[in-house]
Symmetry: C2
Subunit: 385 residues, 2 copies
């Protein structure tokens, strides 16, 4: 039977392969998935349980509950210098469905979407599924720092969108405010969408600037994507959102309505509580920062070259300076490490960058210490071979 | 800024227009939405509340929890003569996302999808969004009864899929088993998918046959779509499923993974309980049947010609025999009725059939009696004008 070729060619991701292999081992340490170990806030759990028992859970209004959309606008205005109302906000099934419905609304056959690497694995597949083409910008030569100048060089008359992720997955790096200003100036007159993926914006270790600050200048083209999976560990609730101009919000809402009807009403109550009672994630950020500081220094002591995260909960570590590893493909390194130590990580190839691997900091320090112990043993073994 | 033309052209549905107009009136009776008034089962509410408080709610496995997929296969085997295992089942964000992800996996530019009318409004939009073309089969001449013979006449070399909905929305009609056998014989050798939308299969008033019975003969092409929104009133939980062969399940799973990542884990716990503790919906079916019997007889006494529902919770009523109404477009009739009586219904045009309107039986008898009273008054008024 016929299957759409684009779909047939899309591969199950390497993350999944590592994860499945991991199931066959005992005593593993899973540093592969972006699934926070920190629990969902108690207030959110209680609110969801209360509404499950006491509120009639009906279809949500298309596009999401007005009250939640208003709260998200307020949250962005207060914390990220936005200037939004509920009309700018669309509630989605996690940030994923937001990206999927947005792509469907604005990308068509032959369009190019610029993506600096390393980058999240989902973008490329979703672009291809609309007939578009992801065009990756290799930043290795520039120490993975994006500048407006580099961006400009890659813009063609086919460029329909640029995706910037800050803090980034897998590197945790944040965009420099000066460069964001330049990028704003570069894009504002152009017919190019800017998708600013800010899913990690609440988990930051230093001063953070959101593209919300430039929402007036970029009014016609800015789309901010975020959600509650990372900030409030609400991965299993599937709740995210888009912030954009009301005209585009309406178009994406139409796609979203046919794509999923609406987002779980119960999850929306949970998100409301998350914003009302625990929107400040500074304490959570401190936990992740402590882990990042510890793990990065240990990796560097072993010879890895790590990108310095300004947020999120990953370390993206280069191993090309380590002579016993430098000729290994990142997938082979990840499999070998899993095989010999039970430590599961994600190869850089998943993010379009070879010679690097991603460690998820989704364990507390004692577990990270055990991971370091295993890594050291592994390094010693390969150096003695 | 550029917007995909297909998306721009997709209209907000008439149901939505009626619903929005309704908000401006007082003392309305909403018979427009397919939102059950009957509550979510207590067992489901308690289970969801328990898991919200006591279980770590993480990302669901891609494609859904194994235990739920197994339970759905068992449920279909036991109740609908299926022959399925968990490998056949994919959990989706309501049946909507199942249809959306399926369309993306198998429909491409220029493909035709046959849909007998009246039919659910979402199919057409989702087909167009993949570049395909809905081809509606007008059954009015045949009293809205689909036969294998009629179906065969509409098959061309562009036909990639046929969508059959039984019980149907908006008519509640069920397919005749003899015709299902003939349709099975007609399709089994062909390279045409059969999407059997069985979302109302648990709300039936008479003997019901699922295409699950023919799953062996239609192995390569059958896709059953269903969910918990109608049977267990879990509309706001967004949980549905697909049952198909394992190869197609894998392809749709890839689309679904990129489209939404996965379905709410909490909703999956709710669905598990729904199947474990309250899978039998005979009592619920009795409630809807009583409403259908009452409302249909009242409508017919007023001169409407109604399709006889074998399930679901709608009456699809023709008004072409009523001389004061027959020249009205169904949208105009629906707006006029809302304006004069506060009774909100859905025009047949939404389902590709003029001269008909849909009444949703989502109120108990006393409210239906009030609706009848208002309708009678309306009929009297137009007859006196």
């Amino acid at each position: 039977m016929y299957i759409n070729n684009t779909i047939k060619e899309i591969q199950i991701s390497d993350i999944r392969k590592i994860y499945e292999k991991m199931q066959t081992y005992e005593d593993t340490i899973n540093m592969s998935l972006g699934e926070p170990d920190i629990d969902v806030p108690e207030e959110v759990k209680k609110s969801v349980a209360y509404h499950a028992l006491n509120t009639k859970i009906k279809y949500s209004p298309v596009g999401g509950m007005l009250e939640l959309r208003k709260k998200i606008a307020d949250f962005y205005n207060k914390n990220f210098d936005g200037n939004f109302t509920s009309d700018n906000v669309l509630i989605t099934v996690g940030s994923t469905e937001g990206i999927a419905s947005l792509m469907k609304a604005v990308i068509t056959q032959g369009d190019e979407v610029l993506i600096p690497t390393p980058s999240y694995v989902g973008y490329g597949a979703l672009i291809k599924m609309t007939g578009g083409m992801p065009v990756y910008i290799d930043l290795k030569e520039n120490n993975f720092i994006l500048t407006a100048e580099i961006l400009e060089k890659h813009i063609t008359n086919k460029t329909k969108m640029i995706i910037l992720t800050s803090p980034d997955n897998p590197s945790g790096m944040t965009l420099n405010e000066k460069e964001m200003e330049k990028i704003t100036e570069l894009l504002k007159e152009k017919e190019i969408y800017l998708l600013s993926d800010e899913i990690y914006a609440s988990i930051v270790f230093e001063k953070y600037t959101s593209f919300g600050k430039y929402s007036e200048k970029l009014k016609k083209q800015l789309v901010i994507i975020s959600g509650f999976s990372k900030s409030h560990s609400m991965t299993g609730y599937r709740i995210g959102y888009i912030i954009t101009n009301p005209e585009l919000q309406l178009q994406v809402k139409k796609v979203s309505q046919y794509n999923v009807t609406s987002t779980s009403t119960l999850s929306q109550y949970g998100a409301l509580t998350a914003l009302e009672k625990c929107s400040n994630r500074k304490e959570i950020s401190k936990i992740y920062k402590k882990r990042a500081d510890y793990f990065l220094s240990e990796l560097e002591a072993m010879g890895f070259k790590c990108l310095k995260p300004g947020g999120a909960f990953y370390i993206f570590a280069g191993y090309e300076n380590i002579k016993e590893l430098k000729n290994l493909k990142s997938l082979d390194f990840a499999f070998d490490l899993l095989d010999k130590t039970g430590l599961a990580i994600v190869p850089g190839s998943t993010f379009q960058v070879e010679g690097y691997v991603r460690f998820s900091l989704v364990h507390d320090i004692p577990v990270l210490e055990e991971a370091v112990k295993r890594l050291k043993k592994y390094m010693k073994e390969i150096q003695n071979n």
